[in-house]
Symmetry: C3
Subunit: 169 residues, 3 copies
């Protein structure tokens, strides 16, 4: 099963995703897309780490996500990706359109053949004011398109608000 878990910042979406991964009873591989460039990000990453069971395998992959999913997926496993918006942001920061398009397409292509279970977490970023900054607008567009494309392929789509899950699909 493929599942997409959306929600705003600090909505409880990661915690829900981790609970769902635990509840499968399968081995969990956690793919972290975050990169620690500064102390604030380091702190955010540590906080997330300490929330996760220590026996989960953690793989860090900021950019080549589709390959990383295929390398780790097995029938007996659940892959938890947290989160897609950071991955998109890492991809955009490479400032290389052909890598960007290739990696985005690779993720969309890989979904139909991933064995086992896949849970993807992503931030809703498009329900505030449109920002002045062109890169931020691009990011919002790309996140929105990605969510639409993934939601179409996922069996379940959940939106989390204040720690409460609403099933959209």
């Amino acid at each position: 099963m493929k599942e997409l878990i959306l929600g705003g910042a600090r909505s409880g979406k990661s915690r829900l995703a981790e609970q769902k991964a635990s509840d499968t009873g399968l081995d969990v591989v956690y793919i972290a897309t975050a990169q620690a460039f500064d102390s604030e990000m380091n702190e955010r990453i540590s906080r997330h780490q300490s929330d996760r069971p220590s026996h989960w395998q953690t793989v860090e992959e900021p950019v080549y996500l589709a390959q990383c999913i295929m390398d780790n997926a097995k029938d007996s496993r659940v892959i938890l990706v947290d989160c897609l918006t950071l991955w998109l942001s890492n991809l955009l920061c490479l400032d290389n359109e052909s890598v960007f398009e290739a990696e985005k397409q690779a993720l969309l292509n890989v979904l139909s053949s991933v064995p086992g279970q896949l849970i993807m977490v992503s931030n809703e970023v498009g329900q505030g004011i449109v920002p002045d900054n062109r890169l931020a607008r691009r990011f919002i567009d790309e996140a929105g398109w990605l969510h639409q494309a993934l939601a179409e392929q996922c069996e379940q789509v959940i939106f989390v608000t204040a720690g409460i899950a609403q099933r959209l699909k």
Copy 2:
């Protein structure tokens, strides 16, 4: 029937609105409120145009929306307005409070007497951080009030997330 379709940026709300307009089987008049001031906006407009059936009639009206709706509405037609937030933004940029109030009121007044069907698309912009910029705060306020006033008069209100429609009313 009058319908309001809300959603964040790139949530799939325009595509849903276009599908709904097509599904009526009626002639469609598409009222575009966007104005192309720069290449980015031009690109956004072209992308939307290429998504629409070529036999639809397109009318561009950035400001005088109520009049434009009345000029085009007929029992045998569906009017699709995309989108209200751009229209609001165009109105605010005129920097003329009396025109602003008159046009806003005209839209609210016209709704009860529009013949045929009316589908209005608008952006949710108020669920992020309150911006520093005073005009942006005004825009958020006006969009929120407009959505409330229109939702009250519409038979259906839909919220779109990741391409998935949730019926609010």
Copy 3:
């Protein structure tokens, strides 16, 4: 009963909360957390005031919310707090971490023992782009965590969009 009413800016959440408070038939004490530092804020406060029944008791408390709730709560009353995000913002602006933590904890601790009814209104601020500004990011984090913690303790959680209530819990 404890109830949390969330929604974006100008979503109609205050109006819904006021309606709910009225509908209880109980005496209403309205706790206003807003502080008027400038003319815009003054105007926002006046607009909210004129929307409320004049026989409601209004208490202004920008910071020490838990104590204020306990001082005013009674079996025969409904306490309406509008809104938590302004209170959080006031707390953060004190720039005193120990007061911040103490007051946040005090609110969470007080909930289980509040007599009568309690309706809390708060803004959803985390569904837009992550802001550049560090304090704004902190604010978003704190608002999100607070909403999760309160939602867990509340019997009802409502999300308001365009004046329309969706029950989340």
